[in-house]
């Protein structure tokens, strides 16, 4: 890509080297551990599904039964139960929901269990490959029909059937990406609810059935409109890899999936998060799912001008964590946001510098650009103007995924017309300036290029300081987002498990092999 900012290749390279060094010891820890949700995700990939009469999901029932045995992985007991009972996966799920304890059955011949597990891996691989094939075929058939950047909107009624109506309407109005935002409580649940849901606060539960319902509805629009509609959900919180598993099975196309977001903003234990994010990203990588990272969150707690370097630093770290989980750059929707104080003189130039800088440093990544939220007020007219400027920067700097700002951002979850006005605004701005980027160069010593160089330099300095301290101690000391998260605190630590010598997880092994990851 042609550079307009004159950023130093050497400094960019330096930042990448630092990120690699910072991430490496974390990945060494990750390799030796699993967690309850990694095990449940593995079971889900094998076909474990359903829930008992109290609504406890089958994967949770199995992992709970394996208490004290989890160093071996939960899958071996599930597979053993399949062989012992001679049941199908669905049949076994019903038995477990009815009270069968798979951990109470004596383990059979290892070779037979491994052979049975192989058939489950093959079934999973066939299903996900078919999903990838379907997506690729539609994207090819309808090539050039999506907007650039992809226009991304959120639906959030709490009721999947109401969401479906709003999503279809938004897709018909031109949205390329539909995200079903989750109910506010879900990230802290250590299970994924089962079945379709109609109640939620500020969002809708992510369940496999809800994924299926929305996918089916959007697929109808895809063929009607001749445009592929990408479905997005939130692969974060205490069930990160399980959401990834469900998304892979039901052909979601994007997942919010940050390496550190849960630690900082949801107070989830850091060991647990690092273990969970790796497996979730491996699943996303194999399923061809674009991850969206959450750098925008740094700017909701810290100032977007002063702390711009934390965004770039996090992008480098997220990139490194993503590579370590087998994600190619084209699936890395690295995040950032248009969150500077609108009263700041020349603030627009600084926003432009940040967006152009991200574009040039991560040329292949479909960057995820988030709209103004922090300085949105009840003044919907000003809000619309701010969103227009955001749309302008996004188009000018060639962002990949553009989350549309809503003029009613600070007021309520969007009305149907709010979403329409946002789409209309984006299409208007982006169409009228389609070729502008090719016409524009920045002065080498102007405000924009100077600002980008400064942020890059501050990022290198920040990464150097993290490298000296170590990532986990740095998080504990509050170097990210001004939030302190000690290593031994936070939610979900009790769900962490060191792998034993007989740890069995052929899904993990298969994914590593497919993604060319070393053991």
């Amino acid at each position: 890509m042609e550079t307009k900012l004159g950023l130093s290749e050497e400094r960019i390279q330096k930042a990448r080297e630092l990120a690699a060094r910072i991430v490496e010891p974390v990945m060494a820890f990750v390799a030796e551990h699993t967690s309850v949700t990694v095990e449940r995700a593995t079971l889900r990939l094998a076909g474990a599904d359903g829930a008992d009469a109290d609504g406890v999901p089958v994967p949770n029932l199995v992992v709970d039964q394996c208490k004290g045995l989890l160093e071996n992985g939960a899958l071996i007991y599930y597979v053993n139960a399949l062989v012992r009972t001679g049941e199908t996966v669905q049949g076994l799920n019903r038995l477990i929901a009815g009270g069968l304890n798979v951990a109470s059955l004596p383990l059979g011949d290892r070779a037979a269990l491994e052979a049975k597990a192989r058939t489950l891996v093959e079934a999973f691989a066939a299903r996900v490959k078919a999903n990838r094939g379907h997506r690729d075929a539609k994207l090819e058939a309808y090539k050039g029909r999506n907007h650039s950047p992809l226009l991304y909107v959120i639906v959030a009624t709490g009721n999947i059937y109401e969401d479906r109506k709003q999503a279809v309407a938004a897709a018909e109005q031109g949205a390329d990406v539909i995200a079903v935002i989750r109910t506010t409580a879900q990230s802290l649940l250590d299970y994924v609810p089962y079945g379709p849901t109609t109640e939620g606060f500020g969002g809708t539960y992510a369940t496999q059935e809800n994924f299926r319902i929305m996918r089916e509805a959007l697929d109808e629009v895809v063929d009607r409109q001749g445009r592929y509609i990408l479905l997005t959900n939130y692969c974060s919180g205490l069930c990160m890899p399980e959401i990834a598993a469900m998304g892979a099975l039901e052909r979601l196309d994007m997942m919010l999936n940050d390496s550190m977001y849960g630690i900082l903003f949801r107070d989830i234990n850091m060991y647990r998060t690092f273990v969970d994010q790796k497996f979730s990203r491996m699943i996303n990588a194999y399923a061809g799912i674009i991850i969206n990272t959450g750098e925008d969150n740094y700017l909701t707690t810290s100032d977007a001008v002063e702390k711009a370097y934390t965004v770039l630093a996090s992008q480098f770290l997220n990139e490194r964590f993503a590579y370590a989980a087998g994600l190619p750059a084209r699936l890395m929707g690295l995040g950032h946001a248009f969150e500077m104080d609108p009263t700041l003189k020349n603030g627009f130039l600084l926003e432009l510098a940040q967006a152009q800088m991200a574009r040039e440093i991560f040329p292949e990544a479909p960057l995820k650009y988030m709209p103004p939220t922090k300085f949105m007020t009840g003044d919907i007219f000003k809000g619309l103007a701010m969103n227009s400027m955001f749309n302008f920067v996004s188009k000018l700097t060639g962002q990949g995924i553009h989350l549309l700002g809503m003029l009613t951002e600070a007021i309520h979850t969007p009305f149907m017309m709010d979403r329409f006005l946002a789409l209309d605004n984006a299409k208007h701005v982006m169409n009228t300036m389609e070729g502008l980027a090719d016409e524009i160069e920045f002065k080498r010593d102007g405000v924009i290029a100077t600002r980008a160089r400064k942020v890059l330099e501050e990022t290198v300095e920040f990464l150097e300081s993290i490298d000296r301290i170590g990532l986990m101690p740095a998080i504990a000391q509050g170097h990210f987002a001004d939030i302190k998260r000690p290593a031994d605190l936070g939610k979900g630590l009790d769900g962490l498990q060191k792998k034993g010598p007989d740890y069995f997880n052929p899904f993990e092994a298969y994914l590593k092999n497919e993604l060319n990851l070393a053991d």
Binding site: G158, V168, A169, E172, Q173, T183, T184, A185, S187, L188, F201, G202, F265, R266, D267, T300, T301, D303, D341, T373, K374, F375, T377, G378, A410, I411, T413, F415, M416, M417, F420, I483
Partner: protein, 245 residues
Amino acid sequence: MIIRPYGDTLDDGSVQLSFTLPVPDGPKGREAARQFTEKLGFSHVDIVHSTPLSDGFSMYVAYGKTATGIDYDTIHVEDATGEKVYTMEEADAAVREHFGRKLVVVGACTGFDAHTVGIDAIMNMKGYNHHFGLERYAGLETYNLGAQVPNDKLIDYALKVNADAILVSQIVTQKDVHIQNLTELIELLQARNLRERFVVCAGGTRIGNKLAVELGFDAGFGKGSYAEHVATFIIDKLIERKQTH
């Protein structure tokens, strides 16, 4: 004095509206929008714009004139703070003068609400919109517990640090979840016989002083509130309590 909306002439009563109807766009939809606006009490209704949102939904921009007026002289509002709002320096001086120690303030976003933007705007050092947050006040010792804090944990923490005031932010209001959550905090305080132990304030974009007081809080802070409003209320309330005890 009777007042009406002002378009470009006094008492013209001009109002602009925009809304969506669950019907297709077209002459019938526009007529429905016109009649609907008339039924709201507007005359001279003009549907100046309509557009389809999808097959079965359409959006309208309407103008109308209203004869309805409001007697401005009878309007009464109850804000948590009166006319006098301390600057940060005045607040710190008042704390020094009346208490001779720092006042302790604990804040959180409670329940499942993950939106810290409100509590951060009031408490964080930097504050919001060029109004410094409570952390910066020399007279205050502040603890921002962040998001998704259970009500009982918030109370425990307030006891632990010997707080003078508790601040609760609620942004998510879907299905009135904030009402349940705020009510629960007051009930828990009452059950533990601690309601009078603290000055308790609620805040959020959809929370006004009136609502908060109805729910049993000492005050509520909605849109347009900054740290100095909250600080002023806490300080004055504590001075008042000191003087009556």
